[in-house]
C-alpha cells in the first residue's frame, strides 16, 4: 500500500467533535492526527471576577460527563487557596462520589461506546436485541453508579451539594446501607460477569503496543484517585503544586485543544496510566482480574485502556464497600453548611484522578474572594499528543499486518475511542476552525 487517505469526520461514540486524518503518499506517512474541531468555550476567561462560591458551579459546565471531577477538583483548589478546614467525613464522602463517577463513566465507555466495536455493531442499540442480558446488566450497573452520585452529590450531572468546605446536604444512614447492599449483591456479581465477557472478547483488541510515559496520582495508602503526588513511570514523584512542570501545554495547528508533553514527545493519562502507576495497590478481586487478563505493568497496548477501566470499576467497587463500612461504623455527623471563607489573597492547586486521567484546576483569588486567574489542565489535552504518536506507529503496523482500508479506519476509530476522549473538556480554552 503506497497511497492512502482516511478521513473520519466527527468520530462517533466519543464525547465532543474530533476528526481522524491520515494521509500516506508514495509509501510515506505525511499525516496521522486527531484533528479537534470543537467550538469555543473560554472558561478561564469567563470565571474571572466570580466569587469563590461560584467557581465550581461554572467550571462544572466545562463538561457534563466529567462534572463530578471538575467540581471536586475546583473546590479542592479553592480550599487550598483560601485555607479552608475540611473534615475527614467530607473527604471520605468525596472519595465515594469520585468512585461512583468513575464507575459510571467507565461502564458507559466499556459497554456503550467501546463494546459495539468488539461485537461489530454500529451502536449499542442493535446490541439490545442481540445481547439483551448484557445490555440490561450494563444499564443496571450504570444506574447504580448514578444512584451513588445522586445520593452523595445531589445529582449525577452537575452535582448540587458540593461547596468549598464540605457538603450542603448529607446522605442518610439508610441511603448508605442501601448503596452498600447494592454494591455487594449486585455490582460485584455483575462486575464478575463483565470480566468473563471481556475475557471472551480479548482477541478483538488489536495486538498493538507502544510504550510511552504514564502519568497518574500516587499515594502511600491507596490506589490514588482523590489526592496524592503526580507520579510518572519515567521520572517518579512531583508535588501537585508543580503540575505545570509536568503538563507543558503547547499549541498545534491541527487541533483546537492544546497538547502536552513531559519527558518524551508525549505522555498518557487515564485508567491504563493509573494502573501502570498503582497496580500494587489494587484491591484483591481487582488484582485477581488484572492478573487473569494479563494486565501487569507496564501495559503498553493503548487499546487495553478499556480493560483497565473494568479493573478500576472492580477496584472502586471494593474500595467503596470499605469506605461505607467505616462511615457506617462512625456514623454521619451533621456539619454546619455555608461556612464563609476568611478572605485573603491566595493561590491554590487542586488535582484529582477523574475517569479519563489526571485533572488540575488552579485559581488565584483577590482579597475579596474573587477569581483573578484560573487555569484548568484537562486529561484529554494531556492524551492528545499521545494519540497522534500512537497513530503514527499504528498506521505502518496495520500496513505491515495487511489491513484493508475499512479495517484500518475502524482500528483508528477504536484507538481514539479507547482513550475515551472528552473533547468538550479539551477545548474549554481554545477557539476552533471546523474541518468537514
Amino acid at each position: 500500500m503506497n497511497n492512502l487517505s482516511i478521513r473520519v469526520p466527527y468520530v462517533t461514540r466519543v464525547e465532543g467533535h474530533g476528526t481522524i486524518a491520515v494521509d500516506l503518499k508514495e509509501g510515506k506517512l505525511i499525516k496521522s492526527v486527531l484533528e479537534i474541531v470543537e467550538p469555543p468555550r473560554y472558561f478561564e476567561a469567563m470565571m474571572k471576577g466570580y466569587l469563590y462560591t461560584d467557581a465550581a458551579v461554572i467550571s462544572s459546565r466545562i463538561c457534563g460527563i466529567c462534572s463530578v471531577g471538575h467540581q471536586i477538583t475546583s473546590v479542592k483548589a479553592t480550599e487550598k487557596a483560601l485555607a479552608f478546614d475540611v473534615s475527614d467525613q467530607t473527604v471520605t464522602l468525596r472519595k465515594l462520589l469520585v468512585y461512583g463517577a468513575t464507575m459510571q463513566s467507565h461502564i458507559l465507555h466499556i459497554f456503550f461506546l467501546a463494546a459495539p466495536d468488539l461485537f461489530s455493531a454500529p451502536s449499542v442499540i442493535p446490541l439490545a436485541k442481540t445481547h439483551p442480558e448484557t445490555i440490561k446488566m450494563a444499564l443496571r450497573m450504570k444506574r447504580l453508579s448514578n444512584d451513588i452520585c445522586d445520593i452523595i452529590g445531589g445529582r449525577t450531572i452537575h452535582p448540587n451539594r458540593l461547596v468549598p468546605g464540605g457538603f450542603t446536604k448529607l446522605p442518610t444512614r439508610e441511603q448508605l446501607l442501601w448503596i452498600k447492599d447494592k454494591l455487594e449483591n449486585q455490582m460485584v456479581p455483575d462486575a464478575k460477569t463483565s470480566f468473563e465477557l471481556l475475557k471472551s472478547l480479548a482477541d478483538k483488541f488489536p495486538a498493538f503496543s507502544r510504550e510511552t510515559e504514564y502519568i497518574g496520582l500516587k499515594t502511600d495508602n491507596e490506589y490514588a484517585f482523590y489526592d496524592g503526588d503526580v507520579s510518572s513511570t519515567d521520572t517518579g514523584l512531583t508535588p501537585e503544586k508543580d503540575y505545570l512542570s509536568i503538563t507543558n501545554e503547547f499549541v498545534v495547528s491541527h487541533s483546537t485543544a492544546k497538547h502536552a508533553k513531559h519527558k518524551r514527545s508525549s505522555y498518557a493519562v487515564g485508567a491504563l496510566a493509573r494502573l501502570n502507576n498503582n497496580y500494587g495497590k489494587l484491591n484483591p478481586l481487582a488484582r485477581e482480574v488484572a492478573d487473569a487478563l494479563g494486565m501487569k505493568p507496564i501495559v503498553a497496548n493503548p487499546f487495553l485502556n478499556t480493560v483497565a477501566q473494568l479493573i478500576e470499576t472492580i477496584h472502586v467497587t471494593e474500595e467503596s464497600i470499605k469506605i461505607l463500612d467505616t462511615l457506617l461504623t462512625t456514623g454521619i455527623k451533621a456539619e454546619r453548611p455555608f461556612v464563609p471563607a476568611k478572605l485573603h489573597e491566595g493561590t491554590g492547586v487542586g488535582c484529582t484522578e477523574v475517569p479519563r486521567g489526571i485533572l488540575f484546576h488552579e485559581y488565584t483569588y483577590d482579597n475579596r474572594g474573587r477569581i483573578v486567574k484560573a487555569n484548568c489542565v484537562i486529561p484529554t489535552n494531556q492524551n492528545a499528543q499521545n494519540i497522534d504518536d500512537d497513530m503514527r506507529e499504528l498506521v505502518p503496523w496495520m500496513i505491515a499486518n495487511n489491513f484493508d482500508k475499512d479495517k484500518m479506519t475502524l482500528t483508528l476509530e477504536m484507538l481514539v475511542r479507547a482513550y475515551d476522549p472528552c473533547i468538550s473538556c479539551s477545548v474549554h480554552f481554545l477557539d476552533v476552525k471546523y474541518v468537514e
Binding site: Y10, T12, R13, V14, E15, P39, P40, R41, Y42, A45, M46, G49, Y50, L51, T53, D54, V57, I58, R61, I62, C63, G64, I65, S67, L108, F112, L113, P116, P122, S123, V124, I125, A128, I135, L139, R140, K142, R143, N146, G154, R155, T156, I157, H158, N160, R161, V163, F167, T168, K169, P337, F338, P340, S424, F429, L430, D431, V432, K433, Y434
Partner: protein, 251 residues
C-alpha cells in the same frame, strides 16, 4: 404509520444533556420502542437525515453553527431546544460581555483574526424554536413529559411560576436566611427546586420566569442587604443574554 424519526444535535455545550438522556436507564429501552433515533453522535455511529423531530443541545457560537442550525430547521417539522445553552445561551453567554477582541487575543495572540467566532446565542435567536426543555442539565422527567406530549400530538407545557413556589411546597428552609443569594424567586420552575432542596443556591439555569415581578425581586434583595453587584453577577451566570436585552431596552 412508522415510528417518528428523531434526531439529536449538539452545538456548543458540555454534552451533559446528551448524557442525561443516557441516564434514563430504566426507560431507554421503552423509548426506543416508540421512536426511531436517526442521529445521536455521542451514542451511535450510523446517522440519517430524514428526521421529523430535532432536539438541539448547545448554543450557537460560530458562523458554522449558524449554517448547521438553518439546515436542521429546514428539515425538521419540530425543533426542541434542550438545556440552558440552547434555550437561553446559558453559561456560554458569560463571555458575551467580555471584550471579544481581547478574548481572541488571549487565546490566539497575533493570529486572533484567523478564527471567526460570534457571541453565544440561544437557538431561538437564530431560527424558530417550537418547544423548550430548560435547565442545566435538562430535567430527565421533563424530557419524558415533553417527548410523550409530542408523540401523542399534544402541546408540551412547562411551568410558568417560580422555583420559589416549588421550594416552599417542599418546606425547605430559605437559603436567604443563611445569607446565600438564591435565584429561586425569579427562575422558572419545573426542576422541583432541585438545587435549593440540596442546600445549594439556585443559579437560574432554567431562565427567568415569564412576567417577572422585578420590583418584588428587588425587595427581596434589599431585605437581605445585597449589593447590586452581587446580584448582577449571579444574574449573569446563566442569563447574560436576557440581562443584556433588558438593559438595552432602557437605553
Amino acid at each position: 404509520m412508522g415510528k417518528p424519526k428523531v434526531a439529536f444535535f449538539d452545538f456548543t455545550s458540555c454534552e451533559g444533556c446528551q448524557l442525561s438522556k443516557l441516564n434514563l436507564e430504566n426507560d431507554l429501552l421503552d423509548i426506543l420502542e416508540l421512536v426511531d433515533i436517526v442521529n445521536f453522535r455521542e451514542a451511535i455511529s450510523n446517522h440519517g437525515e430524514d428526521y421529523e423531530i430535532a432536539f438541539i443541545e448547545g448554543s450557537i457560537s460560530t458562523p458554522h453553527c449558524v449554517e448547521r442550525i438553518h439546515k436542521i430547521r429546514r428539515q425538521a417539522q419540530i425543533v426542541v431546544a434542550l438545556g440552558s445553552c440552547a434555550h437561553i445561551g446559558g453559561i456560554n453567554a458569560i463571555r458575551n460581555n467580555m471584550d471579544q477582541d481581547e478574548v481572541r487575543e488571549a487565546v490566539y495572540g497575533n493570529d486572533k483574526y484567523l478564527f471567526p467566532s460570534i457571541k453565544a446565542q440561544a437557538v431561538s435567536d437564530v431560527v424558530k424554536v417550537d418547544y423548550v426543555i430548560p435547565g442545566c442539565p435538562m430535567d430527565n422527567q421533563e424530557f419524558k413529559r415533553v417527548l410523550s406530549a409530542l408523540l401523542t400530538g399534544k402541546i408540551p407545557e412547562i411551568p410558568e411560576y417560580s422555583v420559589c413556589a416549588e421550594c416552599k411546597a417542599k418546606e425547605n428552609e430559605c437559603l436567604y436566611d443563611y445569607g446565600v443569594v438564591c435565584m429561586g424567586p425569579i427562575t422558572r420552575a419545573g426542576c422541583r427546586a432541585a438545587c435549593p432542596t440540596n442546600g445549594h443556591y439556585c443559579y437560574g439555569c432554567r431562565g427567568l420566569v415569564p412576567d417577572l415581578n422585578k420590583n418584588a425581586a428587588k425587595d427581596v434583595m434589599e431585605k437581605y442587604k445585597l449589593s447590586i453587584d452581587q446580584i448582577k453577577k449571579r444574574f449573569y451566570m446563566f442569563n447574560t443574554n436576557y440581562v443584556n436585552m433588558e438593559e438595552k431596552s432602557y437605553e
